[in-house]
Symmetry: C2
Subunit: 139 residues, 2 copies
Amino acid sequence: MSIESISSLFVIKNALLAARLSKKASNRLSVHGISLNEYIVMHYLVSSNKEASRIELAEYLGMSASGVTRMLLPMEKTGIIESARNLRDSRQSLVKLSTSGLRLFEDTSTSFSHIASELTSNLSQSQQERLVELFGKLI
Amino acid sequence: MSIESISSLFVIKNALLAARLSKKASNRLSVHGISLNEYIVMHYLVSSNKEASRIELAEYLGMSASGVTRMLLPMEKTGIIESARNLRDSRQSLVKLSTSGLRLFEDTSTSFSHIASELTSNLSQSQQERLVELFGKLI
DNA sequence: GACATATACTTGCGCGATCAAGTTTATATG
DNA sequence: CATATAAACTTGATCGCGCAAGTATATGTC
């Protein structure tokens, strides 16, 4: 066995953990008819409290622009989000949460925080805060 | 704005971080012709130093059994891994790294640890160790 | 003001992964 | 021992997402 770098181990464990947590969170969210990424988009729109461009969402989610386009399509069809033009830059198509989208988010949030606290029950509050803080240095 | 649970934030940030890191790591690994998950499988087989069943790999990777089947197929075709029967349980098809697979892993590892240390350069050694330790409590 | 380059998407194609269903082998129960 | 149930895969259909290429608009340069 060779010596292994801690950073390699970190990247691997982070990927494995995310795969597990995301899957379980997705399962819980599926009863509300939304995916984890859709939930994260709603969360972002609520938290930032502004309209977001598709590129902004793509960077935030760490996915491609085309992925965002395809993801938002059904969300707009079902009325969760609404699109608006940016008058300053007509290339952009801004996204905002509709009122029914906000209601859906609030309903879903309680489900989500339940599953999230189940999934992280092996960590103390302060350990979780520390993790989120360190994640911030990498994002 | 409502009060948000730290565990929700943790699950979201973890997913976002993994999306970013995985994508960058995948890009680097693609020059060796392998995906991140393939690298993780090789890493697992080397670290555990034993043959693994497909179910075991699926649980470790946090993916479905069918996903593992499909993922291993080309790896076996190109000779990275070999399959062996489990004599105690003939339902199982055990996976082990071939010698050329081991060589590929060693080559790839240096690439991987380089990109990993780039990606985590904002964290100290001990912070990374702490993170890996806390990840262990959740996996 | 014209032209080149960059940005913000959108669309076609392909890959990787999931789910549901099917097959084979193991295990538990009467 | 027979039957039922579970476990370990495999396969078909499908979906989400990325990449490459195309379009429309903005910006920078001569």
